[in-house]
């Protein structure tokens, strides 16, 4: 791979500092440029300034939660950007259907480990744009 490749800009959106820290640890050292957002509102503002390649999106957050961000982002920026991977716990599996129907590209369940996070993010980044 040529060294001039732009790093993937990934926005970690979760109100849990632990989850952001873990995701950061897993992705650091790979070809990612990382940024944090503690809720959907902040994430939306950051997207408007500079579009991330991919957003890791928690479901339950204060101020603006995952589904609200998802709907607003698809409305404002369209279906293809940014790629969105919804992140929820086992008890939130019912939300996954709603998330996928509202334009999420994939989901990941907490607790996740490094290989799973890498696989999910590269999976959605490699997927062709929707028609």
């Amino acid at each position: 791979m040529p060294t001039t490749t732009k790093p993937t800009y990934c926005l970690l959106t979760d109100d849990s500092p632990t989850v952001r820290k873990v995701a950061r640890r897993f992705l650091q050292g790979s070809d990612y440029e990382l940024d944090d957002a503690g809720n959907g509102q902040i994430a939306l503002e950051k997207c408007a300034i500079r579009m991330p390649d991919v957003v890791l999106l928690d479901w339950n957050m204060p101020v603006m939660n995952g589904i609200e961000f998802l709907r607003a982002a698809r409305e404002q920026f369209g279906r293809d950007h940014p790629k969105i991977v919804v992140c929820t716990t086992e008890s939130g599996v019912d939300y996954i259907r709603e998330a996928m129907a509202s334009g999420a590209d994939d989901y990941i369940i907490k607790p996740f480990d490094a290989p799973t996070l890498h696989a999910k993010l590269s999976g959605v980044l490699a997927a062709p744009a929707s028609v």
Partner: protein
């Protein structure tokens, strides 16, 4: 179809026997069921997993077969329980719809609600099934309030459904309980550890795991027989349950090994819970009149704390390694990873 089904069953059964002999597998009922289900092809996940194992050509270890059974066959049994309950509830629904029709126009809303429920496909998903039953009870109560003429009959039907719901809850609880010791079983443990680790990752709170193993258990079985072995396991299970708090989770992990999940507990507190278990066994020993007399019943315990992001198998592996260390260092002790 009526002719084809028994014929197909016979073919699957013969194919299962052939595979058991080809792969030199112990012909236990569980293994037979596993291979029968594989050849019958009812379960796509089982089929895929076993095809991979067959094409790898590694053969089938006992442990692999056990894993396959607990992953695919046991959960299939639970799904069968749910399907059975669904069928009963469907019947109750049909009679409710009849009652609603007889009650006339004022029951229209109720009839529509019921028809919507009946049309819903809840398959073997227990959450949506429960949700449906709850809604059914609510609708029935609403209707019972509205219609004088139908209220008595409606009340009977509501009671029937409530009984069904209790039976369903009981069947689901049974599917997650170890019948010998009354603790949660391995399947329930696998689900609970994922849930608690997810919560711990979210909140950043501590979460500890104890792996508890009866010392010299093989010797107990060999000397006094399996019934005494069973008593030993029940006694350890009871001691564990008395030694933990309400939010903690005790499960039989397999054989003579138990696992205890301790939310909001750091390694120091987890070690003291483990020491309490060990002391409780000494304080309240298992009293059995045996010849020759059985020495004190003790356990070895391995402790490991969850590190958010660690694969769960690695975390369990660390607790297991600490347990082996405790065994290696003379048993009847606690070691922390």
């Amino acid at each position: 179809m009526y002719l084809a089904a028994p014929l197909q069953a016979k073919c699957s059964s013969e194919a299962a026997m052939a595979s058991i002999s080809r792969y030199e597998i112990m012909p236990t009922p569980d293994n037979y069921t596993l291979w029968y289900e594989y050849h019958a092809g009812h379960h796509a996940g089982l089929r895929r997993t076993m095809d991979v194992l067959i094409s790898n050509g590694d053969g089938f270890e006992e442990a692999t077969l056990h894993d396959l059974t607990s992953t695919f066959i046991s959960s299939a049994k639970e799904a069968e329980v749910i399907r059975e309950a669904s069928r009963s509830i469907q019947e109750a629904l049909r009679s409710l719809i009849e009652v609603a029709h007889r009650a006339g126009a004022e029951a229209d809303d109720f009839g529509i609600a019921l028809t919507n429920l009946a049309a819903r496909n809840y398959g073997d998903n227990k959450e949506s099934l429960r949700e449906m039953v709850d809604q059914l009870i609510r609708e029935s109560r609403k209707m019972a309030g509205k219609s004088q003429s139908a209220s008595a009959e409606m009340k009977d039907r509501s009671t029937e459904i409530e009984i069904l719901e209790r039976n369903l809850a009981q069947a689901l609880a049974d599917a997650r309980t170890d019948s010998l010791t009354g603790t949660a079983n391995r399947k329930a443990f696998d689900a609970t550890i994922r849930k608690l680790a997810g919560d711990a990752m979210n909140s950043g709170d501590d979460l500890a795991l104890l792996m508890v193993d009866a010392d010299r258990f093989k010797h107990v079985n060999d000397t006094w027989g399996h019934q005494v072995g069973d008593e030993v396991l029940r006694h350890i299970a009871a001691t564990l349950k008395h030694s933990v708090r309400g939010q903690d989770f005790v499960a039989r992990y397999g054989g003579e090994e138990f696992a205890v999940l301790l939310p909001f507990t750091d390694s120091k507190s987890a070690i003291s819970v483990a020491e309490n278990v060990r002391h409780a066994l000494i304080r309240e020993p298992l009293r059995l009149a045996l010849t020759p007399p059985m020495g004190p019943l003790t356990v070895s315990i391995g402790v490991a704390c969850y590190e958010p992001g660690d694969p769960l198998a690695e975390w369990i592996g660390r607790a297991d390694a600490a347990l082996y260390q405790a065994k290696g260092e003379g048993r009847d002790c606690v070691r922390c990873a």
